[in-house]
């Protein structure tokens, strides 16, 4: 059965399942948006999707290419200004979960979307923080989804754009009014959660057909595995159908507009 779906699909479906019905979710563009909308179209019809462009409780029929596509506003309950979005809805504590992607992540779930190399003379300049720094600290918890590779899973991020648990795993300790931080990381290979004590990422579930060696090979540090290592449930036929329909609709829509 493992060749009936791609590893990308496995990742998206698993990420989608992390969202529970009724949660309010602040959605990052790209993989998180795909997963969050899949959740809404499958097991979590009342998940509340919020994009930083100001669209509250939006139900796009196709995936947005940008964080502020017209589709998001047209299908939203209402659209507020961007200052209001960040002040009242995010900082105001109305968001259960922030759903983020990233360019780099380290063992303490710190995220780098700023640059590769040195800040003053970057090798690669990335887009920057966007909404992530405060999503990661103001939302109740954070889910992260990205493809697994040594390029993305690094021992130390080049720059902490967005806090996981800091360089030592303790950066949230004793900080007032801060969310729980990352509670799970979903990749195309596995699911990881921070150790409750040390906050170091631990693989808790391997996707069907994936080995521990494959995960280690794609990770830039010696990654820990849970004693009780689960196998991630496979996508259902319905989940795959809905996801493929969504992506096909999206493809047609974005190609067709001129």
């Amino acid at each position: 059965m493992s060749n009936e779906y791609t590893s990308s699909e496995m990742m998206t479906v698993t990420a989608a399942k992390a969202l529970e019905n009724g949660m309010t979710c602040f959605v990052g563009i790209g993989l998180p948006s795909e997963a969050a909308n899949l959740a809404r179209l499958t097991h979590a019809p009342d998940v509340v999707l919020i994009y930083e462009s100001g669209t509250l409780q939006t139900k796009p029929d196709v995936l947005p290419l940008s964080i502020g596509d017209g589709e998001l506003c047209e299908s939203a309950l209402t659209t507020v200004s961007v200052p209001e979005m960040f002040r009242y809805w995010l900082q105001g504590g109305k968001i259960d979960v922030g759903f983020l992607g990233t360019a780099q992540i380290d063992r303490y779930c710190n995220l780098n979307t700023t640059l590769i190399g040195d800040y003053q003379a970057p090798k690669v300049r990335l887009p920057g923080g966007g909404g992530a720094p405060e999503i990661a600290t103001c939302a109740g918890e954070v889910f992260i989804t990205l493809k697994h590779s040594k390029r993305t899973f690094v021992d130390q991020v080049d720059f902490i754009t967005t806090l996981g648990f800091g360089r030592d795993g303790k950066a949230r300790d004793g900080v007032p009014n801060i969310g729980r931080g990352p509670t799970r990381v979903i990749t195309d290979l596995c699911v990881m959660k921070p150790d409750p004590e040390t906050r170091e990422l631990v693989v808790v579930s391997l996707h069907p057909g994936v080995t521990a060696e494959q995960v280690q090979d794609a990770t830039g540090w010696e990654i820990r595995f849970a004693e009780q290592l689960d196998t991630t449930p496979m996508p259902s036929a319905n989940e795959l159908d809905v996801l493929r329909d969504l992506k096909a609709r999206t493809e047609r829509k974005h190609a067709g507009e001129a």
């Binding site: 563009i29 790209g30 930083e52 462009s53 100001g54 669209t55 947005p64 290419l65 940008s66 964080i67 502020g68 596509d69 017209g70 998001l72 506003c73 047209e74 659209t79 507020v80 200004s81 961007v82 200052p83 979005m85 960040f86 002040r87 995010l90 900082q91 710190n110 700023t114 800040y119 970057p122 090798k123 690669v124 300049r125 990335l126 887009p127 920057g128 923080g129 966007g130 909404g131 992530a132 720094p133 405060e134 600290t137 103001c138 720059f159 902490i160 754009t161 967005t162 806090l163 800091g166 950066a171 949230r172 900080v175 007032p176 009014n177 801060i178 974005h254 190609a255 507009e257 001129a258």
Partner: protein, 273 residues
Amino acid sequence: MAEFLSLHDAVARYVEDGATVAMEGFTHLIPFAAGHEVIRQRKHDLTLIRMTPDLVYDQLIGAGCAKKLIFSWGGNPGVGSLHRLRDAVEKGWPHKVEIFEHSHAAMACAFEAGAAGLPLAVLRGYVGSELPSVNDQIKYIECPFTGERLAAVPSVRPDVSLVHAQKADRKGNVLVEGIIGVQKEAILAAGKSIVTVEEIVDDLEAGPNACVIPGWAIDAIAVAEKGAYPSYAHGYYPRDNRFYKEWDTIARDRDTFQAWLDENIYNAGGQAQ
């Protein structure tokens, strides 16, 4: 009081070399026509402020208009990099651009504070982020009631702001509808403001709490049909996602970009004087 001007005249009058300029529109109503006019008039040494630089700032930076950039997310949304921005930051082409980098939350609060006439914005932000170590415009205050340490950033108060909106009435009152971003804040925070609109109408037909900016709070209004293209104007035309994807190829190479600039900006549009 808003004056109806051509876009050429509005930019010529209000955008000075060396000015601090905000062109806003959060992924919607991005003022491309206005940005192109700034390029066409070869304005330079600008400090450019924008939460999401997007293609319009890639074009301005590639054309050499920018000295500094204050921003919070500089990518081609859903596509990838802004290659002209990267080329300027990584290789200094066409010249080095100094960057002041924030988070969206801080920039949004800084626009809000600018509109509110305050010198600073206060937010619960940047906790654990290394951005404060590379941006000395991020400081802290202590709450006198709780002792909590909160981030502070200078408010955004541009010399001039340029935004695009759906329509203005004949008194210069402007309706912004849909994803309203920080457009109102950009106008209210600025010393001078230029609003381009799709059309002038007799009646805005706005609801009682619509985002309407009074004409007396605006300096110049210029009609620019499809002025937000290739971004979109809610109720008028959709985003040209295809162009956003094509931009990746155009902007990746300096010569291709230069040819695009010549063809689409310098030798096209605008108004002979």
